[in-house]
Symmetry: C2
Subunit: 105 residues, 2 copies
Amino acid sequence: MEKIVEQNLLFDFYGELLTEHQRNVYRDAVCNDMSLSEVAEEYGISRQGVHDLLKRCDKILQDYEDKLRLIRRFDAIGEKLEEIRSLSGEQEDILKLTEEIREQL
Amino acid sequence: MEKIVEQNLLFDFYGELLTEHQRNVYRDAVCNDMSLSEVAEEYGISRQGVHDLLKRCDKILQDYEDKLRLIRRFDAIGEKLEEIRSLSGEQEDILKLTEEIREQL
């Protein structure tokens, strides 16, 4: 998986477990694709500080995934929901329920 | 929900995020229902120490649930899976897939 995609996914799942400051910086730099210089200016820290913070957050987020494996588990559930959809014979209420489950993932 | 049931559920979901020591003590005292004295002797700490550790762990686990809401989300998914099962007209392969999803939760 491309690094930026993986970072966004990890942030979606575990971003709430970062501190507010980490979360804001990470969101701007990774999810909103701002440059290190822009983020550094925004938060009044050095570019090196931003770089270090992002690296630390990458590790924190990856550690959570290594322990909880939510991304892996939710991915497997998504695949099985697809199978249910194709086996359902387009049954409207089953399709709707699979959509609702997707929203919980 | 009864406290012991809730503690077991929280431990199932977030136990991996405790330290190994916290996890062992919590598992023995809460999941294996050992007395404070037994656990204290087992780990060479005081009964008060066990009590404090359990209280701290309860808070840590609850904080994770407050942030990630996995129990609430997985519970909602479980209910929708039940609905899919009853709508599936006993279709064997759909029932099997809902079982497999349950195992991921």
